[in-house]
């Protein structure tokens, strides 16, 4: 589904990703772990198409398409979803309006019929229940006045509603208490299907206790330096990143 080869990315003239390679197949969950400043969030942002991230070398193909040539909204319509590390508050843009505009824009771009209000609200209510989010959230501005936990749950709610092919969760566990973490993990697990893949970016193993990954990768200094099963996350938790190889794996 996703194939990243030798990806080099600069931000403000500084190279952050230095030859990253990663392959993710449909139905898989890949965890990316690594120390601060390793380039984890850069990876999420560059896959979603954020401005300011300059790809100087390498390729990213998604379902056979060159992802890097697509605009952010085209990537979303193609099925790429980024759950933001810091979801932005947008006062004045009503959450319901935003969600419907997003869903229908994606459907339109894919040549699917747009949902009317009734169909849309039915779908919204089903997904809200899974994340235990109140209906009142729909009437507020996007993320406006949400607590940290609500913002993260709202990201997962949006993911559930938009049903992407590839979801990238950028430190979705940061700032969550244990109950909120469980809810977020339950929301993610409910979305796991043989067709959908996840890249879960995290600092800590505790999220992986709830979302069991197929593969764990260590990202250090802009490259994947180690890959393995869930036991790698356990080892990291026990030994820290200092004990990991510093060079990229072949």
């Amino acid at each position: 589904m996703l194939k990243i080869e030798n990806l080099h990315v600069q931000v403000a003239g500084k190279e952050i990703l230095k030859g990253l390679c990663l392959q993710v197949n449909a139905g898989e969950v890949h965890a990316i772990m690594g120390p601060n400043g390793a380039g984890k969030s850069t990876l999420g942002n560059v896959l979603a198409g954020r401005e300011g991230y300059e790809v100087s070398a390498g390729t990213v193909t998604f379902d056979g398409r060159d992802l890097l040539t697509l605009q952010p909204e085209e990537r979303a319509a193609a099925g790429v979803f980024l759950a933001f590390q810091y979801p932005v508050e947008i006062p004045g843009v009503n959450n319901t309006y935003f969600l419907r505009a997003a869903l229908n824009a994606q459907r339109k771009a894919r040549g699917e019929p747009e949902l009317d209000s009734m169909q849309f609200l039915k779908r919204v209510r089903e997904k809200l229940k899974v994340l235990d989010l109140p209906d009142a959230l729909l009437h507020r501005g996007v993320n406006e006045g949400f607590s940290g936990g609500e913002k993260k749950r709202n990201e997962i709610f949006q993911m559930a509603l938009l049903e992407p092919r590839l979801a990238i969760l950028d430190e979705t566990d940061s700032g969550l208490d244990i109950d909120a973490l469980r809810q977020v993990a339950a929301g993610v697990n409910a979305q796991r299907t043989p067709e959908r893949a996840f890249i879960v970016i995290t600092h800590y193993q505790r999220l992986l206790d709830h979302i069991r990954p197929d593969q764990v990768h260590v990202l250090a200094d802009g490259r994947i330096t180690a890959s393995g099963g869930v036991e790698l996350a356990v080892k990291l938790e026990a030994e820290g990143y200092a004990g990991m190889p510093q060079e990229a794996q072949a």
Binding site: V88, V93, L162
Partner: protein, 428 residues
């Protein structure tokens, strides 16, 4: 069109009968205004601070005669009225398009053409030049106003349905029309007024409004301007509030080639308060200039002013927001914030909040910003699949809606937001 030229042209062509013609006080006031007009070489004093950002030179070069009454068969395509409505087409009252039935006893709501001699005398504001040293523009309005409304509500009367005043342009033939209105709310009276400028239009229109709110009165006033793209709309409003009176004014400027609004609000009695919201959305070469002069004449008065401008193309938006707190007006509470968005490299927004404080114990705050759409918000919307143009429109509308969401009447609010959204969708 120098004013001397205008006066000569009018002498040559003759002036159509104006409302109140034949009433001594009206004739005398108009004669004085025309005499003043004839003495002035230009419509405005280009050196005056209020005209620092707006030039009428191009307008003055045109020979703009008064617009003729429209053909009687014009039936304007207006949205359904949510209450009572007076319609003026090219500056002339259109009774067939208006609705003035079932007013509470004692309430006066009539176009200038129906104002009686006694009412002209009672409501002297209808014949007042707004400034002691009146400029030619004010004189032009007084001398030739054919449109406008007298709306007077006696003490204690509450009017639930909105009163709508519609100024409709039916022709793109350059011309000139002038309107002056007088709104008087007696003690504890309440009303909602929506003033709409819509349709086609080219040339010059002037609108003068004199508003007086007695003690404990409350006026919700919405000025929704979607005038024709070639019209220059010059507006002057004087609003006086007495003790414990409340004004909520939402002014929304979306249309016209050029607008200039000299808005004077005077808080004359303790606990009088004004909430002023101004939204302007422009593109191409549109120009909008709001000159606010807000006076706390006495203490324990409150104002809350919030302005939002967005400008694309080569448009220019100007806000000169002066709040003056007079000596001895202790306990005044004044707030002014103006936040503005530039949507193109060639647009310009000039914003100058000014506070002049002569009292000792006051609360006064102001903030101003001019910037661009937030890149993080834009990316967030696009990352969810919303195309760039739609994402920009959503954020631009949100920026403006923030100060329109508190329009009290639900139908008026919906109309204002609908007009705003339509304008923002079309901004280039």
């Amino acid at each position: 069109m120098s004013t001397a030229l205008l006066a000569a042209a009018l002498q040559h062509t003759g002036v159509p009968d104006l409302p109140g013609t034949g009433i001594a006080e009206v004739d005398a006031a108009r004669a004085a205004a025309r005499a003043l007009l004839a003495r002035r070489p230009t419509l405005t004093d280009a050196h005056a601070e209020a005209w620092r950002y707006t030039s009428l030179r191009a307008l003055e070069a045109q020979n703009l005669l008064l617009a003729l009454p429209p053909a009687a068969h014009i039936t304007p395509d207006l949205p359904p009225a949510s209450g009572l409505r007076l319609v003026f087409i090219d500056g002339h009252y259109a009774p067939h398009a208006s609705l003035t039935r079932n007013l509470p006893a004692g309430v006066t709501l009539k176009p200038l053409v129906d104002v009686s001699a006694a009412e002209w005398r009672t409501h002297a504001a209808l014949l007042r030049l707004p400034l002691a040293d009146a400029d030619a523009l004010a004189a032009l309005n007084l001398a030739f106003a054919s449109a406008g409304v007298l709306f007077a509500v006696p003490a204690g009367v509450v009017i639930e349905t909105p009163i709508e005043m519609v100024y409709l342009g039916a022709t793109n033939i350059p011309g000139a029309w002038h309107a002056r209105s007088c709104i008087v709310l007696g003690e504890a009276a309440r009303a909602t007024v929506i003033e709409r400028s819509i349709g086609a239009g080219a040339g010059l229109a002037t609108l003068y409004a004199d508003v007086a709110l007695a003690a404990n009165a409350r006026l919700d006033l919405v000025q929704l301007q979607e005038a024709g793209a070639a019209l220059s709309l010059l507006r002057s409003s004087v609003i006086d509030l007495h003790a414990r009176a409340t004004l909520r004014l939402h002014a929304i400027d979306l249309g016209a080639a050029l607008t200039h609004h000299a808005l004077s609000v005077r808080l004359l009695g303790a606990h009088a308060q004004v909430e002023l919201r101004h939204v302007v959305a422009l593109d191409r070469r549109q120009h909008a200039d709001l000159q606010l002069d807000l006076l706390h004449a006495v203490g324990d008065t409150r104002c809350d002013v919030r302005c939002r401008a967005v400008a694309g193309g080569r448009a220019r938006a100007v806000l000169q927001g002066a709040i003056r707190i007079a000596e001895g007006a202790d306990g005044s509470d004044a707030a002014l914030d103006t936040h503005n968005l530039l949507l193109s490299d060639q647009a310009e927004i000039d914003t100058r909040p000014v506070m002049e404080i002569y009292a000792d114990e006051v609360r006064a705050a102001h903030g101003a910003s001019v910037g661009q759409l937030d890149a993080t918000m834009l990316f967030y919307l696009r990352a969810r699949g919303i195309p760039m143009a739609e994402a920009r429109a959503l954020l631009t509308a949100a920026h403006c809606r923030a100060v329109l969401d508190d329009i009290a009447d639900v139908n008026v609010r919906a109309a204002a937001l609908q007009a705003l959204d339509a304008r923002i969708q079309s901004l280039r």
